[in-house]
Every structure is written in structure tokens, then in C-alpha cells.
Symmetry: C2
Subunit: 339 residues, 2 copies
């Protein structure tokens, strides 16, 4: 991989069609193809290269390894009245999310707060597309999911936690929502892989080696452990993700997911939790005025020259709607070869 | 303040009696004294010096400045069925929490998840005593509250966020719960004040000066802005706290709280949100087995020689139950002078 690889232009229609072709060619059932293709499209459209067509390589690996049920039928499980629990039947998370979303929204509106717990799903995507879908309904949303055990707890020396993303969304009248979505690891594993491929050192604080010593050697970091962001605080948040989207909903921790993977290098398998809150359930008719008042916080952030967390994604979205996207030709050729 | 100030020994009974005396002498009403004294006791007992009798200085300042209603009567406001909203009537948060807790527990058990929103309260305490009270009921708990605007958003250059603590608790059968409670600022404001008093430099990354430039000068940091922990990720979490415990529940942001304070240097005024989840509401009878399975995560953390976030507090609690505590004599004398 050189620094300026040849790129080719694709319309958003091309991107989606490519995703559909690759997924169908690898046996993903018709009830799942559109959902997964939409997720791939959203990543590419919003300039998140790691979650665009590149992510099809994981999907294909997972499908070919038999680590996902291509014809999974999501099924609702019983739970308390504000809790919606969907068994994804070993399929990709998207169909289970789609099955649970209307119930999450309805119950959150009834009770003021609600949970959507997705079990036994394969999760390869960013969380913000799901967060956006909940926030579009006028709700506040939080989501998290474990991954594979690649990250050491603060003060530890071996992988235990996943990269464990946390995401949050808040509705903004007339604007794209305020959304953040970040790994609780200091850096994404893919980022360290790219440094290893390029033979470049990684910054201090990203990883430790197999002996638990701080390292700037990317390869040593990959065979050792990633570190959490923010020291013991990030580590505590990573534990929160393991607990909320693991045992709380009766699903696997990142260590259990990696052990289930058994070397297949498939996407993580396990659970996801989404919590939604209805501002009207808290404040009744006064909610709209307070949602409007929150705009003052965003204005104050922007007035300092600081960025809102989702800004770059929305800028890419506006641009790609007009111009389409460009992707590295080598990656494109690889993806096409999967179809 | 020298490095090894003279200390005096107090029993836990002495600590609580001192708190009661000081609070009563400063006009705090009988419906509040016990709650606030218990909070002060919990801080001192658990080795959190900043939340022990030292914190009485803030309580007294707040009472004398008329920034708290000493005879507040908490009152429930209407909300959706899983939401308990308590108007603290301008009083310290503790009595409002106590008024709302039984309803939070009951509703969380009914619906699987619940919110306790406390409005118009003065909040000077750590969040873990409240988290522990919820988790003792077998529930999972999350809490946060804004404070005063002392912290700049990532990429910004002026105070906007509070130190905005986030706390979480998870029940452990036969053990103290797993609890974390941390400020989303890189360091506590009090920590920087101690450096300034001692004329010691602060680490890079704690604060910026009034021009928005990184500083290791504690005084320059205090007149500038604190920074969040973990860069843009900590900053995003701090915004989450502003939104959830501010506009979502119809209460003030940290900037609004500081403006309300108007130079009195009283404790922050505004809201607090507590979210509780009942594992049995999610999993029914299977919950206990999964709660037991979560112990594997804690064992794996400890097996690496890493610490659980609440360990040091529980060690202090065991020790102080037998030995009592020691406090700096100068602080003790100051506190006694308030009575």
C-alpha cells in the first residue's frame, strides 16, 4: 500500500449495488441483503472508510466461515414491558434491529424510557446508523456492544475487553442530530494494523506488548493488547459495555466472543443494547422548549471553534450525495473479486 | 499547608456528630441534616478526603450565601410511568433522592428500566453513595450531573462544561458492588487548587490558560479552563452529561448553573439523572445466572493484577469501621469553627 493509491469514482447507487452483489454472491439471504447493504452504503457515504465497502471483506469472511446465519429469522423474546428483546438467530444485527425498532419506539413513548436488547447477533457495523434511526423518532438514544477481546484493562497486561464502542444521539430540530460513536480503545485495531503494514511506529499509549510493556511497535502491539482511551476512566467505561451488552442481556462478553470465533477472524458475535428516552415522557409538553434550549450548548461549542462530534460525517454525506465517493482501486478490485 | 500536616483521630460517630453540629448551626433544616451528614460520613469513611468533612466548607458557604433552601420540601412532578421526577425545591439533592428512590425502584421493577430525575437541587456530593443505594436493590444504575462551567470542550478555548461526573454500579452477589464514579474533566478542580496553593506545576493536559494555550501553571489553568479526560471522547461524554441531566430533564446546564451562582462560589445548582435497570426485567429468572457469570469478568481483571474501580474505597471502609479516620488538624479546627 503506497501513500497515494489509485482511486476510482463510484456513485452511491454503484456502492449499494456492489454491496448487494457481493452479499448475494456469498449466500446472504434476501431478508438481510438490503439491511446490510444500507449499512455499508451509510459508512461509505459518510466518509468512514473503515465502515464502507472495506467492511464487506469482514462480511464475506464471516459468511464464508459459517460464523453468521445467512437466513436468520429474528424473534422477539419475552421481557418486562419497557424492554424489547430480540433474538437475532445468529444473523447480522441489522435485521434484528429493524424488527425491534418499532417496538422500542412505541414502548419508549409509552413508558418514557425503553431498552432494545439484541441477542445472538453478528455485529460488524458502527453504531451511529442505529442511533440515527432512533433519534429520527424524536428520542434520545444510547447504544453499546462488546467486540472481541483485544484490549487490556487499565493496570492489566492481557486482552480482556473488546474495542467496545459507545454511541449517543440527541435530536436537533431542523438539523442533523448530535451523535457521537467512539471505541473505548485508544485506537481502532484496524489503525494499528495499517501502521504494522506500513512499518510505522504507533504512538505511546495505544498498546502494550505480550509482556505487558508499553510499545510503539505496531506488530508487538497487535500480538499484545490494545489499551483503552483515557486510562482507568476509559477502562471503567469499557467494563460498563461488557456488562450492559453482555451479562445484563444474557449475552457474551468480548472474551467469550473471541473464544467462540476460534480463529476464524469473523466479526464479533453476541449482544447489543440500545436505550432510548422520550423527552416528552420526562417533561410532557415542555419538552420541545428544553430541546430548543439545548441548541445553546451546541452553539457555544461551535462559537469556540470546536467541532461537534458528528460534523465531519454530515459534511461527507452532503458531499457524497452530489459527487459520489472515491475508493482505492485495489480495494475495489478485491471487493469485486468476492462477487 | 505543609506536606505532613498534623492529623487528629476521629471515630465515625465523631465525624457524623461534627457534620450534624455544623449543618444545624448553619441553619439546615431537620428534614435535611441526617441525609447530608450521612453523605459527609460516607466520604470520610471511604477515604475520599474531598467528599468528607472537607466538603462541609462548601455546604456552609452555600447555606450562608442563601444558595440552598434549608427547609426544602421535595415534591413529585408528573411524568411517564417509568419516570420519577422530583422537584428538590432548591434544597440539597439528598432529601430529593431519598424521596424518589422507592418510586424509582418500584417502577424499574415494574417496567424493566426507570429514570429518577431530580430537579432544582444543590449537588455537592460524589455520585457513588446514590449508586450504591440503587444497586443494593439488585438493580444496575447509572447517574450523572452537571456542575459549574469550568471545563473547555475539546478543540475549544473557554469554560463551557462542568466537571460532569459519570457513575455506574453493578450488583455483585456477596460482594460490594462494582461501582465507578469519575469526573469527565482530566483532573478535579480541587486538585488544581491544591497545586496552585503549593506552587507546584500541573501536568500537561489538565488545563489551558485564558488564551486557550496549554499550561502547566496551576493558577493560569484555574483562570483559564480545565480540559476533559481522553480528548474528544471525554469531551463528548461531558456533553452527554450536560444534555441528559440538563435539558432532557428540564434543568440547567453547567454554564447556566455558574451564571446562577453569580460569584457566590456555592455548590452547583441544577439537575441529576439516575437510570436504573432491573436484570430480571430483561432476563426473567435467568438473570441470576448471568449476574453470576459477570463475576468472571471481575475475576479476569483482578487476575491480571488490575484493580476494580471501587476497591480502594471498600478497603478504606473496612479500615475506618475498626480504626476510625484521621483528618488534618487545621481542617478540623476550621470545620469546628463553623459550628
Amino acid at each position: 500500500m503506497n501513500d497515494e493509491p489509485e482511486r476510482i469514482s463510484l456513485s452511491l447507487t454503484d456502492v449499494r449495488a456492489l454491496a448487494v452483489r457481493v452479499l448475494e454472491a456469498n449466500g446472504l439471504g434476501p431478508a438481510h441483503v438490503d439491511f446490510v447493504a444500507d449499512t455499508i452504503l451509510a459508512g461509505e457515504r459518510d466518509g468512514c472508510a473503515a465502515h464502507g465497502i472495506y467492511r464487506l471483506t469482514n462480511c464475506v469472511k464471516t459468511l464464508r466461515a459459517g460464523k453468521v446465519n445467512p437466513n436468520a429469522v429474528p424473534k422477539e423474546l419475552s421481557a418486562a414491558s419497557a424492554v424489547t428483546r430480540i433474538d437475532a438467530d445468529g444473523g447480522f444485527a441489522q435485521a434484528a434491529f429493524a424488527a425491534g425498532l418499532p417496538r422500542l419506539v412505541e414502548r419508549t413513548r409509552s413508558y418514557g424510557i425503553g431498552i432494545l436488547a439484541i441477542n445472538r447477533c453478528v455485529h460488524f457495523a458502527a453504531l451511529w446508523p442505529e442511533i440515527e434511526a432512533v433519534v429520527e423518532q424524536g428520542l434520545v438514544a444510547f447504544a453499546c456492544t462488546p467486540s472481541h477481546a483485544w484490549v487490556a484493562p487499565a493496570g492489566g497486561n492481557a486482552p480482556l475487553f473488546g474495542t467496545n464502542p459507545i454511541a449517543f444521539g440527541w435530536p436537533r430540530p431542523g438539523e442533523h442530530p448530535f451523535v457521537f460513536d467512539f471505541a473505548t480503545s485508544a485506537a481502532a485495531r484496524g489503525e494499528i494494523e495499517l501502521h504494522a503494514r506500513a512499518g510505522k511506529p504507533i504512538p505511546e499509549g495505544w498498546a502494550i506488548d505480550e509482556d505487558g510493556c508499553s510499545t510503539t511497535d505496531a506488530a508487538a502491539g497487535l500480538s499484545g493488547s490494545l489499551l483503552t482511551f483515557g486510562g482507568h476512566k476509559g477502562s471503567a467505561l469499557s467494563a460498563l459495555v461488557e456488562l450492559l451488552a453482555g451479562p445484563l442481556i444474557g449475552d457474551m462478553t468480548s472474551a467469550e466472543s473471541l473464544s467462540y470465533d476460534d480463529g476464524a477472524k469473523a466479526s464479533p458475535f453476541g449482544g447489543e443494547i440500545i436505550i432510548a428516552i422520550d423527552p416528552e415522557g420526562v417533561l410532557g409538553e415542555a419538552a420541545a422548549a428544553h430541546i430548543a434550549r439545548a441548541e445553546g450548548l451546541f452553539e457555544a461549542i461551535l462559537a469556540q471553534g470546536a467541532r461537534l462530534p458528528s460534523e465531519r460525517r454530515y459534511a461527507s454525506r452532503r458531499r457524497s450525495a452530489v459527487e459520489g465517493v472515491t475508493v482505492p482501486k485495489q480495494l475495489y478490485d478485491e471487493i469485486v473479486s468476492y462477487a
